[in-house]
Symmetry: C2
Subunit: 412 residues, 2 copies
DNA sequence: CTCTATTTGTTCAGCGATTGAATTATTTGC
DNA sequence: GCAAATAATTCAATCGCTGAACAAATAGAG
């Protein structure tokens, strides 16, 4: 029904300023080139007087800074361009995955200002030890950020599993985690975050969700609704609708890996039968290509497949085609259901996209009722590896952009 | 990411009042019993002074009225309860379906104040003629509404097919419509609607979407996220997320009928194979139950099936069980993907729910990863037949509740 | 029956934020 | 060098919320 999305609570006198701060800052963030105050006034519908006042607050709070005047033709006083500050608040992104730990820092503009990746097989490592190592990496990241004039205002941790509202990792099957109380474990380490009203110090979320957010905020800006599929050992999807991640009632949306593609087919460890994961998961593709998994570490399986396919290996090509077809059946269902026009292949699928896209598109063409009127785009993710960590850090700074008042109240 | 849903445009001085009018009116609409001004103040966080001023506007604009004081224990001046007005703006709901035309009027409180249904096979009738008849029924509805002190501020038309943004019915296969420009056809008749800022005079939408909206606003209030499945000849779904209908990028979401449940199964008229519709659509169930369709008008097929199942007919029971299993496979996929906890069976499925629910629940239990932690409810729709018309009319008045300022500007 | 405690609703001065017009600042083009 | 054009700021006016005081209306105690 798309009613006005009014603020949930009361709209007080001060909310007015809060909302306009967010409005103006959001415009600056979304603009292609640095807008002037006058541009912002016409874009937002506010008067120039109000925009000036709002911008003054944003400048004082280190959220935006003035850039060189954008070249403009014609007469008149030159405008001063406004850009997101490269100092001030920043977000900390953390990721624990099967074969690596990653930490990164993203500034307001979405730039990655720090990045550390530690490759290791995390499956035999106890959760507390893995998190301790991550905290150590994060400490170095914090120091590096501070040197660049950045203040970490929040952290987000990406995990390949189901996470509940409290940050408890219910189940991360491929990592071997079960009921891991991440916030409690991290609370034992000294804090790295400067608390800001409106920004949670720590968010724990599914890796597929955060990777989708990363894709949403990547440059150049893409569509505001799409399906992002992370194909690893498991297959997870992040659903972005109208520029917002859709989490589901309990935050467990996106379990596309267990969509039935052959209802009477192979049994799956989830208890169902014929789940997508059994046909398009990393292990299924590897097995179908005739590779022996024991000789192939998890983190090189995808690269090896791409190599073989590149070389024209018939088994690998057939395996990828079959996986793409299974994926296409599932994606066609999702597209029929949600009417999305963009599907992004991320995670391990990104490197395999040249071979996966054709069969996926074929299934969509055959099965999607509306494909005749408007085409569906299937493309690889623009972010590379560790997309979830970048997305995680980005999700933190997006909160500042969406609610600058909290930061301003703190920073004076 | 669930950022604050800020108003899209500029927040001007007057927006403040607009937003608080909507906030207070929304609370009155959502309240179980008539709230007092003091109740509203504590519920919204506004001061009593502001609430009084806002309520004064709402009273003057005929959007709310004062009711008998709610009995309360303890001392103190008795409160005056506030309820949505039973006069003032109302919505017109229209529906063209395969075997009937329906018109209804719903008031602010969601009560159906007028209802007309005309049963007839609409397939041989030209779209313009069907719409002309609908307009005639709507004229009578308008007069009846006016006698009750109601003003029609908008209309919504439910159609069993794909509709684009402009109201063009691209395809309604079971009705035989293709590229029918509904707004243009209706514009030839004298207007029945009093234009109000913020309320479109006519919205054309998919029947499944509007039925889902009807379910969302039915009393008593249910969950704010659910999947509503309309099982007729085709199978459509309305997806309600966080109290809002999700329409998809082009407004064509919900095509659950073409979710593949047996990818190498029966060919479907959509061009795909093994679509749900081929296993759980009305015609498929009728055929599986051994009934001859020619002897069975479309509008009695469901009733006849229920009758047979009630009587213990083995063929009917088996047909319903198989259909329920196919439906369950599809629903399990949706639940995995969207993490919904409520599925409503509407349309023809409502009457068949006693036999469909068990196999659907069985498939969900077997296939949904998270079902172990929190159960999924599957239940029949509370609204009866013509749910889409009621939902359509309700969608109009919900706009007034969400944006009362438009109506108030008009009514003075 | 009267008085007090209690809760509801209104009145009013004060204030913060936006507005719109006037003013200042800075450049291009003639 | 001057006029036109565009950008940004200043300032009185206005709108709507706040908070506190006040008026209204009832239940219960004595």
């Amino acid at each position: 029904m798309s009613l006005t999305h009014a603020p949930a609570g009361a709209v007080r006198q001060g909310s007015l300023r809060e909302l306009n701060l967010a409005l103006v800052l959001g415009r600056i963030a979304a603009a292609e080139r640095p807008p002037s105050r006058a541009d912002l006034a016409t874009a937002t519908g506010l008067t120039r007087a109000t925009v000036s006042a709002v911008v003054e607050d944003l400048l004082a709070g280190q959220l935006v800074s003035e850039s060189d005047p954008a070249p403009r033709s014609g007469a008149g006083r030159p405008a001063r361009g406004l850009v997101l500050a490269d100092q001030g608040p920043a977000g900390l992104g953390l990721e624990v995955n099967v074969d690596y730990l990653a930490v990164c820092v993203v500034d307001l503009a979405g730039e990655v200002r720090h990045r550390t990746v530690h490759r290791a097989d995390l499956r035999p490592v106890a959760p507390a030890d893995a998190l301790a190592q991550l905290v150590e990496m994060a400490g170095a990241a914090r120091d590096d950020a501070a040197d660049q004039g950045l203040t970490l205002v929040g952290a987000a941790l990406a995990v390949p599993g189901l996470v509940d509202d409290a940050g408890l990792v219910r189940l991360a099957p491929n990592l071997g985690w079960q009921d891991v109380p991440v916030p409690a474990l991290l609370a034992e380490h000294p804090p790295l975050i400067e608390q800001v009203p409106g920004v949670p110090a720590l968010v724990v979320d599914n890796e597929a969700n955060l990777a989708a957010l990363g894709e949403l905020h990547s440059q150049p800006p893409g569509p505001s609704s799409f399906l992002h599929i992370s194909g690893e050992v498991g297959i997870g999807a992040g659903i972005v609708l109208d520029g917002a991640l859709f989490r589901g009632v309990r935050g467990w949306s996106g379990e596309i890996g267990h969509l039935p593609v052959h209802p009477e087919g192979r049994p799956c460890r989830c208890g169902g039968q014929g789940c997508l994961e059994q046909y398009a998961g990393q292990e299924a593709i590897v097995a179908a290509a005739g590779l022996v998994r024991a000789e192939l570490p998890a983190d090189t399986a995808t690269a090896r497949l791409a190599e073989l396919a590149e070389a024209g290996d018939a088994d690998a090509l057939r395996a990828l085609h079959d996986a793409g077809t299974a994926l296409g059946v599932a994606v066609a269902g999702v597209v029929n259901l949600l009417d999305l026009d963009t599907v992004v292949l991320g995670g391990g699928y990104a490197a395999l996209a040249p071979w996966l896209c054709p069969p996926v598109l074929a299934e969509i063409g055959a099965r999607v009722l509306t494909a005749a009127w408007s085409p569906v785009t299937v493309r690889p993710s623009t972010l590379g590896a560790e997309a979830a960590a970048v997305g995680a850090a980005g999700s933190v700074v997006r909160r500042i952009v969406a609610q600058p008042a909290g930061w301003l109240a703190r920073a004076g």
